[in-house]
């Protein structure tokens, strides 16, 4: 029997790894496991609804199941439903590609006020992730703390009009939330100077095309670094945009001190600027987009500390890590591809000609690829006018559709 490999997580890093493994060794048994009944991780639940072109990578990933012989095992949480040790007992190699799904917090006073939410929470809810919380009430003035691409995604979605959301897979609830809030002003706050911001210049430039915004960039400063200069150029290019009334203001070099409130609700965010002066920005909502950290069911910190060779993705004999789980919450879809191709070579080498562990036995309640395709078909068929898909947001309904045969 050929060797068997379990990949925990069906986001881009898990899928690219399976692709590389099966390209080299089509005879391998490769099982892609996800805690959700549906595959593709942040491509489905992170990448913005108005970037459908980027989501098209899933067409490649579908081939894993349709042509390359990989199996999808959905609705199985490793660490909860099956222990990692048991999983390792069933496979010749196990790879953790489980991403990082918990939001980092600012750890300043006021984070528990009503009106404060993390970008992760909001993005999961906008994407109708089955485990998401309700969308927080959104006021007229929104402060977004963070200078990564995720912050820009949020700002763009908040600033778009109904027509600008046509063609997306944004659901009815999230669409209504974005449209009815009547956001008038969004302040985008970076702790670092603009030169050290993390967003890609193209992401910033895209804001210029929004139909209803007025954009101001304050205190972007200067730089000697050519890469950073591209970011400053992109900011300069959007500064002064006057296409409408929604005011977007970029501010840099502001260290968050506290979020202030009244009667349990946010009223302002307080910062210190580079010269030590306090700056208070009145607002109704604060969204923090400052990164992600480890999920709970897999003891990532312990595994990484004991890793045999973390750079190569080797945690222990027969146990590997890739993608955000290995590298931390940095890097885009192509970065995971490069990572996966290197790790695949390593795993194939380690496996050699050995093998024979049979993989997980079939169990009730799991979702296979045919089950996912039924969910997919139901979502595509249910699309409302102006939308390309209508996501099923509830796990129970997903399971019912998946199991319907």
């Amino acid at each position: 029997m050929p060797a068997s490999v379990a990949i925990v997580g069906t986001g881009p890093s898990g899928c690219y790894l399976a692709q590389a493994l099966l390209k080299a060794r089509p005879d391998l048994r490769v099982d892609l496991i996800d805690r959700l009944p549906v595959p593709y991780g942040l491509v489905r639940y992170g990448v913005a609804a108005d970037h459908q072109g980027t989501k098209a990578v899933t067409r490649q990933f579908e081939r894993l199941f349709e042509r390359q012989g990989a199996r999808f095992i959905g609705n199985l949480d490793i660490g909860a439903d099956v222990t990692l040790d048991d999983l390792r007992g069933c496979y010749d190699a196990v790879v953790l590609a489980a991403g990082l799904s918990v939001d980092r917090c600012l750890q300043i006073p006021g984070e528990d006020l009503a009106g404060v939410a993390t970008a992760g929470e909001v993005i999961r809810a906008l994407n109708e992730h089955p485990d998401s919380k309700a969308l927080p009430p959104l006021g007229r003035r929104v402060v977004v703390m963070g200078n990564g691409n995720v912050a820009i995604d949020l700002v763009r979605l908040l600033a778009k009009s109904g027509e600008e959301l046509a063609g997306t897979d944004l659901g009815e609830g999230p669409s209504a939330w974005l449209q009815s809030a009547g956001v008038e002003a969004i302040d985008i706050i970076g702790r670092s100077p603009a030169a050290q911001a993390k967003f890609d210049p193209v992401m910033v430039k895209e804001l210029h095309r929004l139909a209803h915004v007025r954009i101001a960039v304050e205190g972007a400063g200067s730089t000697e670094d050519a890469e950073a200069q591209k970011r400053l150029d992109a900011l300069a290019a959007i500064d002064g945009t006057t296409h409408g009334d929604r005011q977007l203001t970029f501010r840099f070099g502001l260290t968050p001190l506290a979020i202030e409130g009244q009667d349990g609700r946010v009223t302002a965010a307080r910062f210190r600027d580079a010269s030590g002066v306090e700056v208070t920005i009145p607002c109704d909502t604060v969204l923090t987009a400052i990164g992600f950290q480890s999920c709970t069911n897999l003891s990532r910190d312990d595994l990484l500390v004991d890793a045999l060779d973390l750079d190569a993705g080797v945690l222990a004999a027969g146990l590997y890590a890739t993608g955000w789980f290995r590298r931390g919450p940095r890097g885009t879809i192509p970065d995971n591809r490069t990572d996966a191709q290197v790790l695949a070579a390593r795993i194939l080498n380690d496996l050699g000609e050995t093998g024979g562990k049979p993989g997980l036995p079939a169990t009730e309640g799991l979702v296979d690829h045919a089950g996912w395709k039924r969910i997919d078909a139901a979502e595509l068929a249910g699309a409302r006018p102006g939308r390309c898909r209508r996501k099923i947001a509830d796990r129970q309904t997903m399971l019912e559709i998946a199991q319907d045969r």
Binding site: A56, R59, P201, P334
Partner: protein, 155 residues
């Protein structure tokens, strides 16, 4: 005909498409499929017809796997007279101002060294309604036919 499908990719879409195009042409032709990152300018051979499939990244730049090839072209300045190619671009009209620049860069680079382009540069839009496969198979069939005539006339 001897055909080499070359692809430049960043997230793998062009690679998948190149493999599909190669598989589509295989029965009737001798076909090889190669990543531009594994292809050197000195490898060009007038006896082959080149089908290039290339995406666009960053701000209208070449995708990662095409960059080493572009650098080598720049450094080596090969003479590509007699070489025939056709080109298919992958891009996204979300990036309005730089739509499909990657394939344009490659086409101009090859032409500047004397290679002849067969047919129009066909552009896919990831945000559009068409599947890249649907466009690319028709493109491949038509440029292979054009190339057969052209290469016969040239010979």
């Amino acid at each position: 005909m001897n055909i080499t499908v070359l692809y430049g990719t960043e997230t793998g879409n062009a690679e998948m498409l190149a493999e599909d195009v190669a598989a589509h042409l295989e029965g009737a032709h001798e076909v090889a499929c190669t990543n531009l990152s594994d292809f050197a300018p000195a490898d060009f051979d007038p006896g082959q017809f080149y089908l290039v499939i290339c995406s666009t990244y960053g701000d209208g730049e070449l995708p990662a796997s095409a960059k080493p090839f572009a650098e080598a072209m720049e450094a080596e300045m090969p003479d590509l007279a007699g070489v025939h190619f056709a080109i298919f671009g992958l891009g996204d009209t979300e990036y309005e101002d730089t739509h499909n620049f990657g394939s344009r860069i490659i086409a101009e680079m090859l032409q500047a060294r004397g290679a002849s382009q067969i047919g129009e540069r066909v552009l896919h839009d990831a945000s559009g309604g068409d599947m890249a496969d649907d466009l690319a198979m028709d493109w491949a069939d038509s440029v292979v036919e054009l190339a057969a005539q052209q290469m016969k006339e040239d010979a």
